[in-house]
């Protein structure tokens, strides 16, 4: 292993600019003659707009323009994935306006934009806009939304508020398994709605060049090319060559910055109208009301087992809250990223899943770190632990009994996926060792001597990422391909620029990708630059989400590097007067087998650009190659998370005292970065399990709309993590990589809740919902005590 190649914990190239305050985030950018936008949002969850009077606002100090939905007649903000109903009919897909058209459907819905010389002037003028609302009854809970008589979010465009009623598997076939079962274990649970809360609020700057007719959008995006396509082709009808989208440094995404948002279209469109640049930056309270939320499932599941605890069949019924409109990826999250994962790491032979996606008067819900896979894992791992309890089995033994064995790969699940590799026993064993599982009873007894309830919880999981094979997702309703592109440009003196369609917003691509180049070309990291985030500089890209950057974007880079080495070898062969087949390339040097002839990479690069002595008859000058890579399959990271908690029964406060994660993420390029990604995922998983609640009241007001109400994990809520990897290689890509961005958030929530329930078992508490706040736990302890006293 070289010091800068694959497997080295290289310090990050991007850190210097971030540590010195020289990053370049969207809100840091200013254009000459720039104006500022403030978006007036609906204070009501559901209302008709009978009229909007903007007269006073338009004449307020500094105001340049005010636009409403009446002015902005553009296309619907599109959804990127069509899902069909059980009967084969297409889903309901109501119009999604950039600015409200006669009706508002959630608190925070965009009603008008005010553009002024300063942000304060725009915000002040917004106070002068009079909107005549006729309030309508609202519904925020998905179960209530499909009950008879519920308010209709989209009227006739979505009867019963149903987006789709979808299924996977044959219900009758699974029912037959249940008839033979010795045991049936059932569970009802909620996967709590979350707000992603990347620390950088979303921002967008629209700019129109009056000389060339070109538009530029600077935006906080994980995928600028996708935004160019969605906004250009569907909303504003701007062709690609007249629209540039730049996503500069982006301060965290976690999924929330994948989607095409109304504000991007508003500032771009309005910049053409006012013929000046327009900047919009969300305030945090706006982020809560306009960034796509995550999760929000209500599920019932039944697991059939034989007398020995072997799983026979699984039935899952889920109601997924879509919010008021269909965000870009919303529809595939509870279907193809959720139902297809319900085999988990187990050999369950028959599975049936029914998912109803439902409109409500809430902020749209879409992918948030893990997207569908945390929901599947939470359901399965709560259910399996419950089954162990109900059958009187050990919770580890029941898992081992049902694991897909390490020699069974490739393994075809009954829910469409084919796992290519994994070793669930290995990750389990290592996690049990690291967490000192067998010594837990001693720790529990010691905690009890201090009056604390101590519990341990486990979760064994698999996920599907590296999205995704285009042909497969196309057959499932995706309206785009999910390949990635890369361009490798070797400069005359041998330094290299990589242009990647992946986008880094904290993941450290500028370092990891550079390690791939250093390893392949044998050149130092300081001679390598990774460029991303600009549609004018990068040929194409599908961006970063679903832990795809290395497994798809990295593979595209490897493919382009392979082409560079091929061409460079031919140039080297010419220089060494050898046959190209005899040329070998290693550690940055071309040699001819069996001779002492040698030429270095820099000389070849210079020859390509100063082709005085060059094989013009067979090769073009220059050394630059493009590649597009479309994966053969998803990748399947998996592993085991073990959580240990101590609960104070007097206050209900939970302290996470141990969090162990052993994940198989395939080959690790930079262990330091991988560990950091896992830490971050664990924090979000613990946050979901214990702290974070996105809640609406019955009127549709978001009651957790700021950092004073929504409990973000702080440093003192979290323990030191024990994170380790255990590797099986991905079988279908050249690097053997799987992906590490989401595993932490996927595996951990059920481990935490299983630990909490283990701790509370002795005081009679059987169930708790996420987030397991001190109040909820305290109340559960009191209720159990009352019940026990009554018995």
């Amino acid at each position: 292993m070289s010091a800068t190649g694959i497997g080295a914990s290289v310090k990050r190239k991007e850190d210097f600019r971030f540590l010195t305050g020289r990053g370049n985030y969207t809100d840091d950018i200013n254009q000459p003659n720039q104006t500022y936008a403030y978006i007036l949002r609906s204070p009501h969850a559901h209302a008709k707009i009978k009229g909007i009077d903007t007269t006073a606002a338009k004449s307020a100090p500094g105001v340049v323009a005010v636009f409403t939905g009446e002015d902005m007649q553009v296309g619907s903000i599109p959804c990127g994935w069509g899902v069909n109903n059980k009967d084969g009919s297409p889903m309901n897909e109501p119009f999604h306006p950039a600015l409200a058209q006669g009706k508002v459907r959630h608190v925070g819905d965009q009603v008008a934009v005010i553009i002024a010389e300063t942000y304060s002037q725009a915000k002040d003028a917004a106070e002068l806009i009079e909107v005549d609302y006729e309030e309508l009854p609202a519904v925020t809970n998905s179960e209530k939304a499909i009950a008879p008589g519920a308010p209709l979010v989209h009227d006739d465009a979505a009867p019963n508020n149903m987006c789709y009623d979808w299924e996977l598997g044959d219900e009758a076939e699974v029912d037959a398994e249940f008839k033979n079962a010795a045991h049936v274990v059932s569970i009802d649970l909620t996967n709590n709605r979350l707000v992603p809360n990347a620390m950088e609020p979303r921002a967008a700057i629209g700019d129109y060049n009056t000389g060339t007719g070109e538009y530029t959008l600077y935006t906080t995006s994980q995928n600028p090319h996708v935004i160019r396509l969605l906004m250009g082709a569907f909303v504003l009808q701007l062709p690609e060559h007249k629209l540039r989208v730049v996503a500069p440094d982006v301060g965290g995404g976690f999924g929330s910055k994948i989607y095409h948002y109304a504000e991007e279209a508003i500032v771009t469109w309005a910049a053409g109208k006012v013929r000046r640049p327009i900047k919009w930056t969300a305030e945090r309270s706006e982020s809560f009301l306009s960034d796509a939320h995550g999760r929000d499932h209500i599920s019932h599941a039944d697991l059939a087992l034989d007398a020995d605890g072997k799983f026979l069949g699984l039935k899952v019924y889920t109601k997924a809250n879509m919010g008021a409109y269909l965000s870009t990826f919303s529809t595939c999250v509870p279907t193809y990223l959720y139902a297809t994962l319900l085999a988990g790491v187990y050999t369950t032979p028959k599975i049936y899943v029914n998912v109803k996606a439902i409109f409500t008067n809430t902020v749209p819900v879409d992918a948030y770190r893990g997207a569908g896979r945390p929901e599947a894992t939470y359901l399965l791992e709560r259910l399996v632990t419950k089954a162990a309890k109900q059958l009187g089995m050990d919770q580890v033994a029941i898992r081992q009994k049902n694991f897909i064995p390490a020699d069974a790969f490739p393994y075809q699940t009954p829910v469409a996926l084919q796992y290519d590799s994994g070793d669930y026993e290995a990750t389990l064993k290592k996690a049990m060792e690291l967490s000192k599982w067998t010594e837990f009873p001693k720790r529990k007894a010691e905690a009890a001597s201090r009056g604390k309830l101590r519990g341990i919880g486990i979760s064994t999981y698999v996920e599907a990422c590296g999205i995704a094979p285009s042909a497969v997702v196309g057959s499932l309703g995706a309206r785009a391909g999910l390949f990635e592109s890369a361009n490798v440009r070797v400069h005359p003196t041998g330094s290299v620029s990589i242009y990647t369609g992946s986008h880094s917003h904290g993941q450290g691509h500028e370092t990891t990708f550079a390690q791939l180049v250093s390893e392949t070309l044998g050149i130092p990291l300081e001679n390598i630059n990774i460029e991303h985030g600009d549609t004018n500089r990068i040929a194409f890209g599908m961006g970063t989400y679903g832990s795809r950057s290395l497994a798809v974007g990295g593979e595209a880079i490897m493919k382009a590097l392979g082409k560079v080495v091929d061409k460079a070898s031919k140039i080297a062969a010419h220089l060494m007067e050898a046959s190209p087949e005899d040329v070998e390339f290693k550690d940055g040097k071309f040699t001819v087998a069996g001779t002492d002839k040698e030429v270095d990479f820099g000389t070849v690069a210079l020859t390509a650009y100063v082709p005085h002595n060059y094989p013009h008859e067979t090769l073009e000058p220059g050394l630059e190659e493009n590649a597009f890579y479309d994966p053969m399959n998803f990748t399947y990271p998996g592993g085991c998370h073990i959580c240990e908690v101590e609960i104070d029964p007097d206050t209900g406060t939970t302290q996470v005292v141990g969090m162990t994660a052993v994940d198989d993420v395939g080959r690790v390029i930079n262990p330091m970065i991988v560990e950091g990604q896992i830490h971050g995922g664990l924090a979000q998983g613990i946050g979901q399990a214990l702290l974070e609640a996105c809640e609406y009241d019955d009127n549709g007001q978001l009651t957790s709309g700021s950092y004073m109400d929504y409990c973000m994990p702080r440093a003192d809520n979290l323990p030191d993590f024990k994170a380790a990897t255990e590797t099986t290689l991905c079988a279908h890509n050249s690097l053997g990589v799987k992906g590490c961005g989401e595993v932490g958030a996927i595996g951990s929530p059920p481990a935490v809740i299983n630990a909490v329930l283990d701790a509370l078992h002795d005081v009679g508490v059987q169930d708790i919902s996420m987030p397991a706040t001190p109040q909820k736990i305290w109340q559960a302890i009191q209720a159990a005590a009352v019940l026990a006293a009554a018995e």
Binding site: F18, L19, T20, G21, G23, G251, S706, Y707, P713, R714
Partner: protein, 162 residues
Amino acid sequence: MPSVSMTVNGKQVSGTVEPRTLLVQFIRENLHLTGTHVGCDTSQCGACVVHVDGASVKSCAMLAVEADGSTVTTIEGLAGNADVLHPMQEAFRDNHGLQCGFCTPGMVMSAIDLVNNNPTPTDHEIRDWLEGNICRCTGYHNIVKSIAAGAAAMKGQKAAAE
């Protein structure tokens, strides 16, 4: 409109501001020092922490006029034009204490104030101190490690100077 003047990163600066202008707005918009970030609107996240007269302050919770006559250090003032990282910045890089970098300037400024007041903080004291700084990327594990390492390095640097 009132005018304010202060010393920022060793330079005398002045400007005219609306009375409601926050210190962070003055720093970002008037001085174009965009390393100080705004991550919330309720003074919880700490992305905007700077030093005012030597102590850490959330610059979103102070009016520019309140800082009139003060000495302010922002993240840009630590390494200076020589591009030599402060030991705390170096420690964050060495320990992978940052990912997206958005909360980082506030974290670093806050950490330096902690160590100025408590040169050898325990992990528990570090976690406790970070109550006012939110990071969504790192899970804090490596931030705690970074601050402990930064504290040791600052102590070493101080000892070397004495």
